[in-house]
Amino acid sequence: MARQSTFTPAYALRTLGAWGVALLLFFPLGWLLLTAFKTELQAIAIPPELFFTPTLDNFHEVQERSDYLLYAKNSVITSVVSTLLGLMIAAPAAYSMAFIKGKYTKDILMWMLSTKMMPAVGALVPIYVLAQKSQLLDTQLALIIVFTLSNLPIMVWMLYSHFKDIPHEILEAARMDGATLWQEVRMVLLPLAMGGMASTGLLCLVLSWNEAFWSLNLTAANGGTLATLIASYSSPEGLFWAKLSAASLMAIAPIVIFGWFSQKQLVQGLTFGAVK
């Protein structure tokens, strides 16, 4: 690796260019962050005010107006539970396909991925009717079931590609030494697979947290997630941008910060190991 840290014109240009692009792409989010701490008047001031005394009033008002905590709780519960449930169903399947390869393994994998291609809207009416009939409309449980199932193909794929990278020999050696299946899984496989499980879980957490189609269509005031809460601000009731920004910030901050720390695993995971 030829790492040049010497200062050259090319280096300076690259630094300038990269920062320019990054700031431009980040700008909308930065703007949201600023607006959340403005008063409503400052938020629509022309020309925009860049220097102002920050206020926390918007955050209080959002909580009072729409019970942020209820929606946040729904978001946390639905995304965490569906992720754990998904891992529990997907991991055994991925294990079996990665280590005990059968005649139909590849076909099963392909079929699973193809179910993910089926657009959610294709299942809208039946799922809506089923939820209605079973009294699950506007409940956390409905979203948990739907999130688990719709993330399952991605989870199996990601885990499969992680498991495939674990050398068979290690497992065989454990077996030779007389380890039972349970010992093999718990003491050899799990420690090795932890990274893959974690990045799969992280990605599904992000996908469920941000999921909007099913939450908008199946839930409202009781089981709604933060995505539903924010969408309720779309109806124009005048210019409440500061409050809208505060609510948006509260909705995305947990997952964006979370994403910053796990970006590498997340993005690599989504390529199903096809890009190293």
Partner: protein
Amino acid sequence: MNRLLPRLLLTPAVATLFLWMIVPLVMTIYFSVIRFNLMQPDQSGFVGLDNFEYFITDPSFGTAVGNTLVLLGSVIAITVALGVAIALLINEPFAGRGLVRVLLISPFFVMPTVNALLWKNMMMNPLYGVLAQVWMFFGATPVDWLTDFPLLSVIIMVSWQWLPFATLIFMTALQSMNREQLEASRMDGANYGQQLRYLYIPHLGRSVAVVVMIELIFLLSVFAEIYTTTGGGPGDASTNVAFLIFKQALLNFDAGVASAGALFAVLLANIAAVFMIRMVGKNLDK
């Protein structure tokens, strides 16, 4: 190892996915041939292919299919082209690279409803939006984005969300390039343009395929961005197939017609799936 175990381990995943696929599909097929209005539950009965005829002859249908394809094609083209450019830009070391990465990836984690409202209000509002301010600064008349260019506005929002993903995939791929080969080409007097053409771009082929595949999965059913901003309008100008079906089902309450539309969406997705599976299938054997 006995033969029962793999089946036992596979069953939960395969069975749930199978149910998740087949139950809605069978119900959709059934709903699509009966009269089924959520507001008039007393009216029912077999209607044959009437729902299909209604959905397909609806003038909105052609527009929606066109919009879906334009949206899909534009976002993929924009994110791949800009993604490669940015990835090449940040591939070599520079000051503050870690922070730039964090800034670049951020839009990917923003939920679609926030993305949509942020752009609709604070960026694209024709009076107070940032873009309007920029336009006025340069002495131009501000654009009413969502009214005059609704589909383009949605394309911008969705591209903003997916560009970070493409960029990071390409960056990861570039990092695995053979340094010695690059060094050798430089020794032989290859300029950057030649390196780009013969080394960088060919190396990215596979990651482009991955980006296209993932984006296909997620972009065929763009919904929240349209729902929260334009509501599919003005008219049908920004209605895609997903949104059209939603309109039939939950705004017109005509579940029968919506189901016929859904079957069409499934068909569209399957065409994309065949294309995609060919692409990924090759990578799987390796």
